[in-house]
């Protein structure tokens, strides 16, 4: 029986109709395309009236297939599938062909654009007649969630879920949770003590009955899919038995080996070879840095083992891989600081008193290496003048084009702390002052009145080449004051570089493991930049915090909570719908060659040794088509994308093509 296809061409206001003669396309399809029973154009197909029109036509005219020529399936495929379902037609008998993003928005020639839409409609009709009804499938959602990263975003997500009664496994690669926020003294614009608001959350996570915490742990491998992920986690050898250790800290105290702490102290202070990053660390169990430990490098010492009252030190400990099952994964892997040495003209690491923003955070932190005293590298001299240089590695075509978003506020915070703690003059060299969030502009106004100086202009270089006595022994900042339109120079005792917020070095690699993608810069790509900011294109994988893009603390917390809410919603529902667009293997034709088994990115193909055939585990299959392409025998079929459907789509596209003269004499 011939199919009765309904074709609906959307104007999308003038989005499509402005570049495509939609009425002509609809008329043409009705008159010329095989199997088309009805062909219409309409202002907004996605409106309730547009959907109603489809439903009515299915019921009244007995349409058996629907083609909508409108926008991207990302936006409205579900809408039109639902309309079909409402009218009693299997939703997979509906084909949405994208004539907006793929045609009208990119075309410049109306006649050519109209012809292209004809081809796409013809292809969709040809394809849809071969589409088969598919039934949606549901799988159970494992209530456990994996949160990757114990910074503020990850902590918030963990607590939201744990407090709601759901089990959470939190992994963090450093020995303690806390993230960057633990390094700060104050937070802008409220100037409350960072540790005071963070550590309660840390200890809550550490003690929560629903939280399994693995610090010094990294993600090895993810398999499975939404609802049922299998995750392998590497627990790096701490060399300290967590069961026996009481966290008394005597090993740290007695350890004779001092190591420069480039992580938590940002190179401003030392730690021991056996250490916790900071006193309030959660958990309190120290780890041995085997690269620097005297015993591991020289074979003798063992002081920590000798002093440990519970014999918790275990030099033989090895990395351990554990496997857990989770329903969802929240990535909250954070950010790293721009390497300020990449801008040699600012002379970081060449001139002593040039600091990075993270170094300065530690310098003014009451628990930091100077107990919060703002002094220069000599450890005693208080600076009399400080320059803060904005946008170091941000908003710079040579490094990162984006605005790091938080540095202006952090610079204001530094200005306030300097003015509060010292008698120094403090200058901010900014390009534009970015203060858009709640109370940020007010904070800027406050610093203006507190006496911080602001110079609008980019600093060209920092040097120590004094031209006069006033500049002697100082850091000279060479800059352009764009408000005065003048090149100027000014001597300072100290320079702070507001380094950019950058993606973690291994963000792409980790994204690959979880099956999510990154932007060119390396930020994780959200499902929709406005409407779906914490979901990703991979179901069951969510992102929160600065791993998705530069963010301040409130935004990171909000995203952590948002991701947790999304996950909680899925757990509460209990099941998740999986697309029936999956692969299947014809067992008769399968020769058991074992090509497909290892290809599957979702580990969804099992091998039946007895029958020597491969089989798709439908609940795990995501319909990506890898095995369909790889199967040398051609016996794997991808539902909704079988050969017949694809070939007829191609034939439909080529509706006006002449057959090629291939074999003429």
């Amino acid at each position: 029986m011939a199919e009765k296809v309904g074709v609906y061409v959307c104007h999308c206001g003038s989005n499509i109709a402005g570049m495509v003669d939609v009425e002509a396309v609809a008329k043409w399809a009705g008159a010329n395309v095989k199997n088309v029973a009805i062909s219409k154009d309409y202002k907004f197909m996605c409106s309730s009236l547009g959907q109603q029109m489809i439903e009515d036509d299915i019921k009244k005219e007995g349409l058996t297939r629907i083609v909508v020529a409108a926008c991207s399936p990302h936006l409205h495929e579900k809408t039109f599938r639902r309309a079909c379902q409402n009218a009693g037609l299997n939703p997979y008998l509906c084909q949405l062909t994208n004539v907006r993003e793929h045609v009208s928005w990119v075309a410049k020639d109306k006649a050519a654009a109209t012809e292209k839409v004809k081809s796409l409609v013809s292809a969709a009709v040809a394809r849809v007649t071969h589409q088969e009804p598919l039934e949606k499938m549901f799988v159970k959602v494992n209530p456990r969630t994996l949160v990757i990263g114990g910074g503020i975003a990850g902590l918030q997500a963990t607590l939201e879920l744990a407090d709601a009664g759901y089990p959470v496994t939190l992994i963090e690669r450093e020995p303690s949770i806390g993230g960057h926020m633990a390094q700060f003294d104050k937070t802008f614009p409220t100037l409350d003590c960072s540790a005071c608001i963070l550590t309660p959350k840390m200890s809550e996570v550490g003690q929560h009955e629903n939280v399994t915490l693995h610090t010094y742990a990294e993600l090895e491998e993810v398999s499975g899919s939404v609802g049922n992920f299998k995750v392998k986690i590497r627990l790096k050898a701490k060399m300290v038995d967590a069961e026996k250790c009481t966290g008394c800290g005597i090993c740290i105290e007695k350890c004779p080996k001092k190591v420069l702490d480039t992580v938590f102290e940002a190179g401003m202070g030392n730690r021991k070879a056996i250490y916790t990053p900071f006193p309030q660390a959660v958990p309190r169990i120290p780890v041995i840095d085997t690269e620097n430990c005297t015993y591991f490098t020289q074979g003798k010492c063992k002081v920590c083992a000798k002093v440990c009252p519970t014999e918790a030190v275990d030099y033989e400990q090895k990395d351990e891989i554990i496997e857990i099952e989770v329903g969802n994964i929240i990535m909250a892997t954070g950010w790293k600081l721009f390497d300020c040495e990449r801008i040699p003209q600012y002379q970081y690491k060449r001139l002593d008193n040039v600091y990075t923003n993270m170094e300065f955070e530690r310098l003014c932190n009451a628990a930091g290496p100077t107990n919060g005293k703002i002094v220069m590298r000599d450890g005693k001299t208080e600076p009399k003048s400080i320059a803060i240089i904005h946008c170091v590695g941000s908003r710079d075509a040579n490094f990162n084009p984006y605005c790091s978003g938080v540095c202006c506020m952090a610079a204001l915070k530094f200005g306030h702390l300097v003015l509060e703690k010292t008698n120094a003059e403090v200058y901010s060299f900014y390009i534009d002052m970015r203060a858009p969030m709640k109370d940020y502009e007010e904070f800027y106004q406050r610093l203006l009145t507190e006496g911080m100086h602001f110079v609008r202009g980019k600093v060209a270089e920092v040097n120590n080449a004094a031209r006069n006595e006033r500049e002697g022994g100082k850091l000279i900042v060479q800059y352009e004051d764009t408000l005065l339109g003048k090149q100027k120079r000014m001597p300072f005792d100290m320079v702070i570089l507001m380094g950019a917020i950058e993606p973690q070095a291994d963000a792409k690699e980790l994204g690959l493991k979880c099956g999510i993608s990154c932007s060119m810069a390396g930020w994780y790509t959200e499902r929709h930049p406005k409407l779906d900011p914490v979901a990703t294109m991979t179901d069951g994988i969510f992102v929160a915090g600065a791993c998705q893009g530069p963010k301040d603390i409130p935004a990171s917390v909000a995203q952590g909570a948002a991701a947790a809410a999304r996950v909680a919603g899925m757990i509460t529902k209990g099941t998740v719908m999986i697309e029936p667009i999956v692969a299947s293997i014809d067992e008769e034709g399968c020769s058991g060659c074992k090509i497909c088994n290892t290809m599957c990115p979702y580990n969804a193909i099992e091998f039946d040794e007895e029958k020597s055939v491969s089989r798709v585990i439908t609940a795990l299959c995501k319909g990506c088509g890898t095995c369909v392409a790889a199967c040398p025998a051609g016996v794997i079929t991808g539902a909704h994308f079988n050969n017949r459907q694809i070939y007829s789509e191609i034939e439909g596209i080529l509706w006006d093509a002449q057959p090629a003269e291939v074999a003429s004499g």
Partner: protein, 334 residues
């Protein structure tokens, strides 16, 4: 149709065996059914079999259409004469079988589709080391040559070799280069008993050579492809896993895994499974799946070193039947 075949078998049906662009191996294979050829002789009058029996074209031309019950046609279509014979045999036969790889897929003669008539003639009549002194005036075969006695005709040699089904409608396909004697006998029995699959089918099984291969298989990860003369593979493990480009995993079974059994990789003569449009593309995407590297440069190296002749490797038998059918003629001219 099956009933008609069965009835005609009782009353001694008519069988034709014809050849076009092929090597003659198919005929040898038919004779390799040994004494059973006598059973064939009992069941059929062989009306046309240029290699094995007498029979004239003009006799066939004079038969009523559909007078021949079964025609086993081997060879591809390269010349106007072969094209005429394909059309003639089609018209005169109730059942036309594309017999063997050449008729079904073009086979080795089909690799000529990487060049064209001019290039082939240049090689044969001009550049060949044996032809130069013989053909100093660079004479080429002409379709018509006027002589005092009258006009001489030669078949036109086409640029492109076509498969039988690109020339005429084909009822069945029998795979293999050549089809194995036991499969030929099975096909003849099926014809005699009227137990034929639906029109358009390949007579044989629909699974691949791995199914019949006894070697042990593991995960396939290939760092280097070897050519057959470079290594002596062990006799237990999958040849592909040992780095030999074995086509068995994409090739229709039915041969009993003959080549892998004697430690030689399958070269793909049975063509693909049902539903596979392009054997070479299918095999290539399978091979792409097993190369064990994520580094584009390393992958290039693995392919260039191990597969110096990709067309001859992946399309050894099926170039004429592939989606592209031939190398672009303009590209050859340049």
């Amino acid at each position: 149709m099956s009933e008609a075949t069965a009835t005609s078998a009782k009353t001694k049906g008519k069988l034709a065996i014809y050849w076009a662009a092929s090597c003659g191996g198919c005929e040898i294979s038919i004779l390799a059914i040994d004494e059973k050829i006598l059973d064939v002789g009992n069941a059929f009058d062989i009306v046309m079999f240029p290699c094995g029996a007498d029979g004239k074209v003009r006799d066939v031309e004079q038969m009523p259409d559909g007078a021949i019950d079964v025609c086993l046609f081997n060879g591809g279509i390269r010349t106007s004469e072969q094209e005429y014979m394909a059309q003639l045999m089609r018209r005169k036969s109730k059942v036309l079988v594309a017999f063997g790889s050449c008729a079904s897929e073009g086979c080795i003669p089909g690799l000529g589709n990487m060049s064209d008539r001019k290039q082939i003639f240049d090689t044969v009549y001009k550049e060949g080391s044996s032809t130069y002194p013989v053909n100093p005036k660079d004479e080429r075969p002409q379709a018509e040559t006027k002589m005092p006695e009258g006009t001489l005709h030669l078949p036109i040699f086409y640029d492109t070799l076509k498969t039988l089904d690109q020339t005429v409608d084909v009822d069945y396909y029998l795979p293999g280069c050549p089809p194995e004697a036991e499969n030929i006998w099975k096909a003849i029995v099926a014809i005699l008993e009227g137990k034929l699959p639906p029109k358009g089918s390949t007579i044989g099984v629909n699974t691949t050579v791995c199914d019949e291969c006894k070697r042990t298989r593991h995960e396939k990860k290939i760092k280097k492809f070897h050519r057959t003369w470079q290594i002596i593979p062990n006799e237990e493990e999958c040849l592909l896993e040992q780095g030999l480009l074995c086509c068995g995993l994409a090739t229709r079974a039915g041969c009993g895994s003959l080549c892998p059994q004697v430690n030689s990789p399958c070269i793909g003569c049975h063509g693909p499974n049902d539903g596979v449009e392009d054997f070479g593309a299918r095999l290539m995407s399978a091979m792409a799946s097993v190369i064990d590297s994520n580094d584009p440069e390393e992958i290039d190296g693995i392919i260039k070193d191990g597969i110096p002749d990709p067309v001859g490797t992946f399309y050894r038998f099926s170039l004429a039947k592939s989606l592209l059918r031939r190398k672009n003629k303009a590209a050859i001219a340049n």
